[in-house]
Point group: C2
Chain length 332, copies 2
């Protein structure tokens, strides 16, 4: 069922405990298993922390990591991909859709370049799986990470697609579960929940994508119109149907999050995984925002239970909050 | 609560998804973080596959692994521990109680030797936590692995005790959860279940240990008496209260498992994690059994719901099965 939804074979899917584990497995597993071929790995500058920090650790172990820049929308440029490739490149790992700004990368085209150059291609689809259609064959993907709890499944399950024939070292050595590629007692309850979540998503994805895209565009259009000096982060079209991300001049995202919360609106600034850190988002900085602008950013996510009246409510509350915060802002 | 049950501080406990992950984290994390100090690691020959195979992988990365022998009961000899220590030893990892034969190792004494020599000491307590009391301070333990589903908690949660000050590299890099030592969305539902299981075990451990030890000894005594040419694997006294492991001349454990199953009795031969492999148990071979003897082994586990009448039932059925199988055995 899960394999099928990706156009993969069952034996090409292994289950892990988290997208972080899947991403760590790919970066380290490909690196260590293909050392004899080369030590050069290409990623983008807007990867999730688990890809960035796995890459950073690999660097300390003698691997060379090259981070591709992105444009102001967060898009990787295909020319940059081609230019970065060397004789000793063993892996290119590019996030499918960014977790903060929702920008969807040209994965199919990057995959094609990888294929032409005999380089493994991995995409971190933790944010996109279940939200936009994915076919690993059409999209030239060799390895793919997806997560259960990001698409209404239970916590504790994630998957890793590994195309037949890909040479990879396990991250977890042991009893040899999951075709010898991921040892550990298999978390059956979580995986069954994950499979059910995939089944539901598959049934609804087409209609739901249309519905959310419409709501998302309404939200973006109305916020940009009602709030002066407000800007959209990420690409206006090439973005996840459930993601909106703004930045507002003169104020801090953190204060907006707190204020929105008191109105019963959940939002975030930056990535959930980095929420305890005070550093500005590396994703927004990569898109060219200054630290102060990145701090002024706000992420609003839509979901299966978001209705038009919720958009109305946010559009009513948010401008008032921004206005109030700007009044007391020391930055303006 | 969980920390407290081990005599640890809260900040010394991190949660992982499985004991396999905890064990992998210790072996690899200590190895990579302490490379500058040395590359020599000591384990026993009866560790769980996840320790053995992590060690094997480290060997391929330039680390030296020394496997201590065990006596016929599966016990590590303290003299062997002392003898194996070198200038460049960075870690000693010895299983607390073996998963197949239930033998409980002299962990406190091994820990003392480690402490005297300034070497980190890890014990894999996946089988013992919740079954016999553990105090990481009294027992000189620096790192400890324990599992939720081995003691009536849900699958998907395990813990790793890391004594304050221990230098370790994470296995999962990313958002920096669990004090930066284990990135991944924290699986709260599984951990809450784990904590509840620990609470229940703590309350019952003393009474339950007494009850199970009595039942276990009954089972062992009666089986050895009623079945000719039957032997106990593991130590008669220094063993988990819930474990009994026999070997029977002339027959295969696998056939006994199948036959017992038809009578509603669940049993196993070798480790559950290795059940798909046809190789004889490395634990039993280490105890001096020949491959044919190891293949004739049977593990019976007791638990919270085992009653005296269950022992009676096994003691009634098992001898009949052994007799029947021996009749048709080509080995006798």
């Amino acid at each position: 069922m899960i394999a099928c939804s990706l156009g993969a074979k069952s034996r090409e899917i292994i289950f892990t405990a988290s997208a972080t584990e899947s991403n760590n497995t790919v970066l380290k597993g490909i690196a260590f298993a293909n050392k004899n071929k080369g030590n050069h790995i290409i990623i983008s500058s807007i990867e999730h922390d688990c890809v960035l920090n796995s890459a950073k650790w690999l660097q300390s172990q003698g691997f060379e990591i090259e981070k591709l820049p992105v444009d102001k929308y967060g898009l990787v440029n295909l020319k940059d991909v081609k230019k970065a490739i060397r004789e000793n490149t063993i892996l290119i790992s590019i996030i499918h859709a960014n977790n903060e700004i929702g920008t969807v990368e040209p994965v199919k085209e990057i995959g094609k370049i990888c294929r032409e150059n005999g380089i493994y291609f991995h995409t971190d689809a933790a944010q996109s799986f279940g939200k936009i259609p994915i076919d690993v064959n059409e999209m030239n993907i060799d390895l793919l990470t997806a997560s259960s709890h990001k698409m209404y499944g239970p916590k504790g399950a994630a998957l890793l697609f590994i195309r037949e024939g890909v040479k990879i070292e396990p991250l977890l050595h042991g009893g040899g579960q999951e075709f010898g590629l991921r040892s550990s007692t298999v978390n059956i309850p979580a995986i069954v929940g994950f499979a059910k979540a995939v089944e539901i998503c598959q049934k609804e994805i087409e209609k739901e994508t249309q519905r959310l895209t419409k709501l998302r565009d309404q939200l973006i259009k109305r916020v940009l119109k009602k709030v002066s000096a407000s800007y959209l982060n990420g690409h206006p079209k090439k973005r996840l149907p459930n993601n909106a991300n703004f930045w507002f001049k003169f104020i801090e995202g953190e204060s907006i999050v707190v204020a929105l919360d008191s109105y019963g609106i959940a939002s975030s600034t930056g990535s959930a995984c980095s929420s305890q850190k005070l550093k500005p988002s590396h994703v927004l900085l990569s898109c060219g925002l200054k630290p102060s602008q990145a701090h002024g950013s706000l992420r609003l996510s839509l979901g299966r239970w978001t209705k038009e009246k919720d958009i109305d409510y946010v559009v009513e509350i948010l401008p008032k909050i921004v206005k109030k915060l700007r009044k007391i802002s020391p930055f303006k």
